[in-house]
């Protein structure tokens, strides 16, 4: 049976207290660190989803976002590299719409049903910006969700779907805009959101001959908490018992990733046999009927939504948030004198993006970055690739630079030893300076290192184990 065979999620470690944006505003929103974007969050969710699974069997990766760092360049390729997937797979970006997440999900299901692929990984991530101080800024949160669609062992089957589109200027962001724009709420929510989702869900019910009572849970994209309850009620769902918590208080609206992330949150609580309704919004709506199988119990060993939501650091410094988002100009560090080289980055792609070291086939020594001559036995060119991105490590030594201008001082650099072998030097992220010490267990996180003339340079950093 075709369906969801695994899920994974990612919510950044940091939360901004809404009080920091506007006095009296309640709750907190998930905010990506200065070195995160939709690509890095997608990689984190993909890694969570693929936890312990054979990555060689994945035949496709669909990346859904409205906030790709590139207008022209395939985000899915970067995500697939960092997730260490095979090169001969289908990759595509689904973008420009809040419905990109469900569009990618439905396309993946169709691809697997059609036999074009056996397993397709769908990853949706977003980090949308509202104008400083606006309601959008308060509501928007950052995050990513990943669903693996497979042709067997489905933990969740997809039984029916129904889509509508509606052309309306309600919420948009033009080429060159930094912030999301919208028409007046009363117009755009009534004739946009409520109308389109209403039509899609009603159509789905008719098509599948189901009524709200047949669902254990309903999961809707929603622009805010009030409209969420209003929509559920208008469609005949009991907001108290049937409606999935939309996580406005703890995470915020994660855009194109929202439907997938909320679905994952629902699946974390679901039992075999539960029927779940999923509906997205974005110039129309995609609605799906899903059913949970016994297999769900076998894919629970992930951080998922719960694990990531529980692991957090709340910041109240609004200036820091603006700096992280690049909305406050910063003094520039002198240098560096060397520049980015696309050929060098391309040559090093296996090491830098996949985080593959090598293992010497003669003496077994694991080494990073890949070498031509073995560090230990000096044998030339006899190595096999060795994935380090999923290995835990411990800090051997570190330094914390308080002087070189950066978006988040101190800049921590670490030398780490991987469990199972291999040593690496790299930056550390998502850390409190006080917690950094020799012997600290760390994991690897894919982050943006630098923006250079429009090139986003990604690499791996260490971070304290997220517990």
């Amino acid at each position: 049976m075709v369906g969801i065979t695994a899920y994974g999620a990612y919510v950044p470690l940091f939360r901004l207290s809404r009080e920091a944006i506007a006095k009296g505003a309640r709750g907190e929103k998930a905010i990506s660190n200065f070195d995160e974007d939709s690509i890095t969050m997608a990689v984190a969710a993909a890694s969570d989803c693929l936890n312990g699974m054979d990555r060689e069997t994945v035949d496709g990766l669909y990346f859904a976002t409205t906030t790709s760092p590139y207008k022209e360049k395939l985000g899915a390729a970067i995500v697939a590299m960092a997730a260490d997937l095979r090169p001969d797979i289908i990759t595509a970006d689904f973008t420009n719409s809040l419905r990109a997440g469900t569009a990618a999900l439905m396309a993946a299901i169709d691809a697997v049903k059609a036999g074009s692929a056996k397993k397709v990984l769908v990853v949706a991530a977003d980090c949308r910006l509202g104008t400083p101080g606006s309601a959008f800024e308060q509501n928007f949160g950052d995050g990513a969700g990943a669903l693996l669609i497979g042709d067997s062992d489905a933990a969740v089957t997809v039984d029916a779907s129904y889509s509508v589109y509606n052309e309306i200027m309600d919420v948009w962001r033009a080429d060159g805009d930094t912030f999301v724009r919208s028409w007046e709420d009363r117009f755009s929510l009534t004739h946009g959101y409520l109308q389109a989702v209403g039509e899609a869900v009603s159509g789905l019910m008719r098509k599948s001959k189901l009524t709200p009572k047949d669902f254990a849970k309903a999961v809707f994209y929603s622009p805010d908490a009030r409209r969420y309850a209003e929509l559920a009620q208008s469609l005949g769902f009991d907001a108290k018992t049937q409606l999935q918590d939309a996580l406005f208080a703890t995470m915020g609206n994660t855009g194109a990733a929202s439907p997938l992330m909320l679905l994952i949150a629902a699946l974390e609580e679901a039992k075999a046999g539960d029927r779940v309704l999923l509906a997205s919004y974005g110039n129309g709506s995609d609605a799906l009927v899903l059913q949970v199988t016994k297999q769900i119990e076998k894919i629970r060993d992930r951080r998922g939504m719960k694990g990531h939501l529980a692991s957090k650091k709340v910041i109240t410094d609004y200036k820091k948030y603006l700096i992280w988002r690049g909305l406050l100009p910063q003094e520039e560090t002198p240098g560096p004198v060397r520049f980015f080289s696309a050929p060098a980055a391309w040559r090093e792609r296996e090491a830098n993006l996949r985080l593959r070291g090598v293992k010497c086939q003669v003496c077994g020594t694991i080494q990073y970055p890949p070498q031509r001559v073995c560090t230990h036995c000096h044998t030339k060119d006899q190595f096999e690739p060795y994935r380090l991105s999923d290995k835990k490590a411990k800090i051997f030594t570190f330094a914390m630079d308080y002087v070189t201008l950066a978006l988040d001082l101190p800049t921590v650099t670490t030398t780490i030893d991987f469990d199972g072998g291999g040593r690496m030097e790299c930056y550390m992220t998502d850390r409190e300076p006080e917690q950094v010490k020799c012997g600290l267990p760390v994991e690897m996180s894919f982050r943006k290192i630098i923006d250079k003339e429009g090139a986003h340079i990604y690499y791996w950093k260490t971070m304290p184990l997220r517990t």
Binding site: P336, F339, A344, T375, T397, A399, Y402, E425, I457
Partner: protein, 392 residues
């Protein structure tokens, strides 16, 4: 393998003021350092048969030195080996003389770091445009990683470690006050050094050397020729160079409490100079205190202190001017300043003056054997030069 011992003599040296020399170009520094050396040796520029020029970022070919000094159509090679460049430049000139190819050779190192915003360029392990994924920070974080691990390895608290490192800084500041050409010439208190602003944990501002402009030069010849030039020429006893193979950051076995390149260069130099007990036999040492932790590790790596006992020797004042083995008598990189490729030659200048008994207020009573040590690069990829000198 042969030996350079007693095959080359220094007959003249020069060294400019070090500091923020806004009014001097790198060519001014070449002229100032070399003409002092010519005068000291009693020769003319035209007597130079070959030259080696050390520079990391101030004049990329030998022609720049030729142009400044009007050395017409002689062979000049540029040497670049990061912070070990100065001593390596000298080493190349010595081999030129020892080979019999040249009678008189010049070694000159000049750096104009302060023409760059911020001192010198950031993390620069590779001279090429690159993928930019390595961390891109000033050198202090490399050495801070050594300090972090040293404290952890020997179970020292931050305060205990800080006190030891700060004492090294206080010593070098004191010695700097006795060096008229030094960049920084003022005493600091232990309290000042301990409470300075952090630059890269666990190293603070006073753990770091000065970033300076400066130049230094040496004239080398054979001992036979030297005898006819002056009585107090100085003999080269050893020249060693060891370059890291990246092993420290590839192999978890590396402990980050020593610098293997320094150990290797030290061993080679002691063997060549026939030194068995460096702590007893070396009278004066100019070592690479780019950061205080580096000087600490050098004490142990060069066998001045037993492993892990550097802090005890610091507490005992072993390396102060009045101590058993004075280190960085002219203020070191910390206070004399650190124009990268000039530093090695500046260190040789100090040892040369000490061995000749011409070191002024900081002159040591006994100075028969002197050692120079430079190390530069990043963990795993250090370039380390050690040279040993004796009196004629």
């Amino acid at each position: 393998m042969g030996s350079i011992k007693d095959k080359v003599a220094i007959v003249g040296m020069g060294c400019t003021h070090f500091g923020e020399l806004w009014d001097k170009s790198y060519k001014d520094l070449m002229v100032d350092a070399c003409y002092e050396a010519f005068e000291d040796a009693g020769i003319e520029p035209k007597d130079i048969q070959a030259a080696w020029y050390g520079s990391r970022e101030s004049g990329f070919t030998g022609a720049h030195l030729a142009n400044a000094l009007k050395l017409e159509y002689i062979p000049i090679s540029r040497v670049e080996n990061f912070c070990a460049g100065g001593t390596d430049t000298f080493r190349n000139a010595c081999y030129g003389v020892a080979s019999g190819a040249y009678d008189i050779a010049l070694a000159c190192g000049v750096e104009k770091t302060k023409d760059h915003m911020g001192g010198f360029a950031m993390y620069t392990t590779t001279p090429f445009d690159r993928s930019m994924v390595e961390w891109d920070l000033p050198p202090v974080s490399q050495f801070a990683q050594l300090a972090t691990r040293y404290l952890y390895h020997y179970g020292l608290s931050y305060e205990e470690g800080r006190r030891i490192l700060s004492k090294i800084s206080v010593k070098n500041h004191h010695n700097g006050t006795l060096s008229p050409k030094a960049h920084f010439r003022r005493e600091i208190t232990l309290e000042q050094a301990m409470n300075a602003p952090m630059i890269s944990y666990p190293l603070n501002l006073f753990d770091a050397c000065g970033m300076s402009d400066g130049g230094a030069a040496a004239i080398v010849t054979t001992p036979e020729i030297a005898k006819g030039m002056r009585k107090d020429y100085i003999l080269v006893k050893a020249l060693a160079l060891a370059n890291g193979a990246g092993q420290a950051t590839l192999q978890p076995e590396y402990d980050f409490v020593h610098i293997p390149e320094t150990v290797a260069a030290g061993k080679a130099a002691y063997k060549e100079a026939e030194i068995k007990n460096p702590r007893k036999e070396v009278d004066v040492a100019s070592v690479h205190d780019c950061f205080t932790i580096t000087e600490m590790l050098i004490y142990e790596d060069l066998g001045f202190s037993p492993r892990g006992k550097g802090p005890e020797d610091v507490e005992a004042g072993t390396f102060e001017l009045t101590g058993e083995l004075p280190v960085n008598t002219d203020g070191g990189l910390k206070c004399f300043g650190h124009p990268l490729s000039a530093s090695g030659l500046r260190m040789i200048y100090e040892v040369y003056k000490q061995l000749q008994g011409k070191a002024g207020p900081r002159q040591l009573k006994k100075a028969d054997i002197g050692l120079v040590h430079n190390v530069g690069g990043v963990n795993g990829l250090f370039n380390c030069a050690v040279a040993i000198f004796g009196r004629s």
